[in-house]
């Protein structure tokens, strides 16, 4: 089944400051979109606002999956509608194992263990790390792989990746990108990757690239846009802050 994620006129405030100033974007299942932009342009704000992070206040706008409004929903309900954020710095949850997290998130306990092992193998995460508490005593790279295990088990309709390339070495990046590409065909997962490096995009081959500056999308194009960005930087897209 194909789904549509639609973000319209999204305005978001963080700590009293408007960071997203009317961002709009539409994507479909199975597509890979990338959001690029300089630091402070609002990329991470988008990811956090979409998933209902308590520090982000939506001022205006709409976010829907198949015309179902997400912004009035709790973070739990949004996840159950099929949205999942893979974090740049996932939280440590001492005393809680990934298995129990995933069962509480709705995974079938009967098959969960083998699914986790399978995902760990695909993402090249040492299986014994699955038994650690969520993100506790894991390196930065292992945490991102552990997030990918959750993604593979939970199979969201749309995956938001918040700068997962930061702190990953080239090999790890390859494995993560391959898993995401496979997800787009395995369950038709839509991937929205936030990054300011082109490296990830070489493997992810996005259908669309969106450039964000000062809280808005200022350019949208095909993969060639990444080449332009790498050559000329973000300056040509930069708008004067309002």
């Amino acid at each position: 089944m194909s789904s549509t994620l639609k973000i319209e006129g999204l305005r978001v405030e963080v700590a009293g400051k408007e960071v997203l100033k009317g961002l709009s974007l539409t994507m479909h299942s199975g597509e890979v979109h990338a959001i690029m932009g300089p630091n402070g342009s609002g990329k991470s704000t988008l990811a956090h606002a979409l998933t209902g992070h308590p520090g982000y206040r939506v001022l205006e706008g709409s976010v829907t999956i198949d015309d179902v409004e997400l912004l009035t929903m709790s973070p739990t309900e949004r996840a159950r509608e099929g949205l999942m954020l893979v974090l740049q710095q996932p939280f440590e949850i001492p005393g809680v194992r990934s298995f129990d997290l995933l069962v509480a998130a709705g995974a079938d306990p009967a098959t969960l263990r083998s699914r986790m092992l399978d995902e760990a193998r695909r993402i090249e995460l040492a299986p014994e790390l699955l038994d650690r508490f969520v993100n506790v005593d894991l390196s930065g790279g292992e945490r991102k792989r552990a997030e990918m295990v959750q993604l593979g088990v939970l199979r969201p309709k749309f995956a938001l990746l918040d700068e997962i390339d930061s702190g990953l070495d080239v090999d790890a990046l390859d494995v993560v990108a391959q898993r995401l590409v496979a997800a787009t065909t395995e369950w038709n997962c839509g991937v929205l990757a936030i990054t300011h490096f082109r490296r990830l995009l070489l493997q992810l081959t996005p259908t669309m690239i969106h450039v964000v500056s000062d809280g808005r999308i200022v350019a949208t194009g095909g993969p060639e846009l990444a080449v332009t960005l790498e050559r000329d930087g973000y300056d040509i897209f930069r708008t004067t802050p309002t």
Partner: protein, 413 residues
């Protein structure tokens, strides 16, 4: 005369050592109950105690074990049963372990209870009114394979269990002191643990009394050279739950690890006091206290690390973390240090706060419901306490604590 004084007097008159008991009683009478103006009783609602309403039993009342007590007993090599402070069964003999009923009114510190605890009103009541001490001795060099369980059951009225545990040189044992029952009762246990050189005692004190009970407990460990006292104290029950726990590190290389876990709900008060008294050099104490308070409950943690001159290279650490599960719950944390030696390592840390909002969001963003996210975080908070229990008992205690945790409401402000 009130019911308490009258029944106490009847009880004492019947005892073989009535004179010593009368002495303890008169200390109690002359000092009376503490008041909240006394700093160490500041948080105790003693005005609501109504001591005069509690009768001192002259014999144990009939009781039946809870399902948990039964399960606990099944895991034991030896079960000692104490009802209303009376040792009713010393269990079946285990090699190297003896259980005796002792009426001597002596402390394991080598002096009378009266002298030892003269400044402690409730301990004086125990000295006057405990039917006897249940003394468990592990012979030198014996490694007791299966846990020893002391099942303390209380019925209505006032009861004064007294337990003394002596672990001989080089011996090792796991002992559980378990408390249940006690609806509308006052339970005042005094426990002492003496560890001879190089002995090891793993001790779990599990307090699961009725929510109407008053529980005012005192424990003291006397730890000789290279001996190790590992204590876990879990307080779930009682209306007012006070537990004072002292460890005296008397021989070089002695160590005490103490983990206290408590959970408050309704209008419970958990009042935990600890004192790690380092006398000898190279002694170690590691204290971790973790508690959660819900509804209108409150907790107090007061810990003192005391280091004598000469206790060189002592390492003493004290940590207390408190979780507030409702805006009307309250936790106080008061760590204290009293150090009279320079060559020591000492650290203390404490925190009081609600569940972490971002951790909760992280779980919710995976599709976990708010309720489940809170439950997972609370279980996670207590995990390190429960996981440190001896393996043969950890599963049982963990599932019991988890079932209590599941019934606690989390209210965010």
């Amino acid at each position: 005369m009130n019911a308490f004084a009258e029944s106490a007097s009847t009880f004492i008159a019947d005892q073989p050592d009535a004179a010593a008991r009368r002495q303890a009683w008169s200390v109690f009478e002359s000092t009376g109950l503490p008041t909240t103006s006394d700093e160490v009783w500041r948080y105790a609602p003693l005005g609501d105690l109504g001591l005069e309403r509690f009768e001192v039993p002259i014999a144990p009342a009939p009781t039946s074990d809870s399902a948990f007590a039964t399960q606990l007993s099944e895991r034991a090599g030896l079960v000692v049963r104490v009802v209303d402070g009376f040792c009713v069964s010393t269990g079946e003999l285990v090699d190297g372990v003896s259980v005796e009923i002792d009426e001597s009114n002596e402390s394991l510190a080598g002096e009378s209870l009266l002298r030892r605890y003269e400044s402690d009103t409730f301990a004086m009541l125990n000295a006057a009114l405990a039917p006897s001490a249940t003394v468990i001795r592990v012979a030198a060099g014996v490694n007791v394979a299966e846990p020893v369980i002391v099942l303390n059951e209380s019925t209505a009225g006032a009861s004064f269990p007294r337990t003394q545990i002596v672990v001989g040189r080089g011996a090792s044992v796991t002992i559980v002191e378990y408390f249940e029952g006690g609806a509308d009762a006052l339970v005042v246990p005094v426990s002492e643990y003496r560890l001879d050189d190089n002995a090891s005692l793993r001790l779990i004190t599990y307090q699961r009394l009725d929510a109407s009970a008053w529980h005012i407990a005192r424990t003291t460990g006397f730890i000789a050279r290279d001996a190790r006292l590992h204590q876990a104290i879990v307080g779930l029950g009682a209306h007012y739950d006070r537990s004072r726990n002292d460890a005296e590190l008397l021989g070089a290389g002695a160590s005490n690890e103490l983990r206290t876990t408590f959970l408050g709900s309704g209008d419970q008060i958990h009042d935990f006091r600890t004192r790690q008294y380092h006398v000898a050099p190279r002694t170690t104490s590691t204290l971790l206290s973790k508690g959660a308070v819900a509804d209108h409950s409150r907790s107090v943690y007061t810990g003192l690390i005391e280091i004598e001159k000469g206790a060189k290279r002592t390492d003493a650490r004290q940590t207390n973390h408190n979780l507030l599960l409702s805006p009307t719950a309250h936790a106080d944390s008061v760590p204290n240090l009293d150090i009279r030696e320079n060559d020591v390592m000492c650290a203390h840390a404490s925190s009081v706060g609600p569940l972490d909002e971002l951790q909760r969001w992280y779980l919710e963003s995976r599709g976990v419901s708010r309720e489940d996210a809170q439950r997972l975080l609370i279980q996670g908070f207590f995990y390190e306490m429960l996981s440190a229990l001896p393996s043969e008992l950890a599963g049982l205690v963990e599932s019991d604590v988890t079932s209590v945790l599941a019934s606690v409401a989390v209210v965010t402000s």
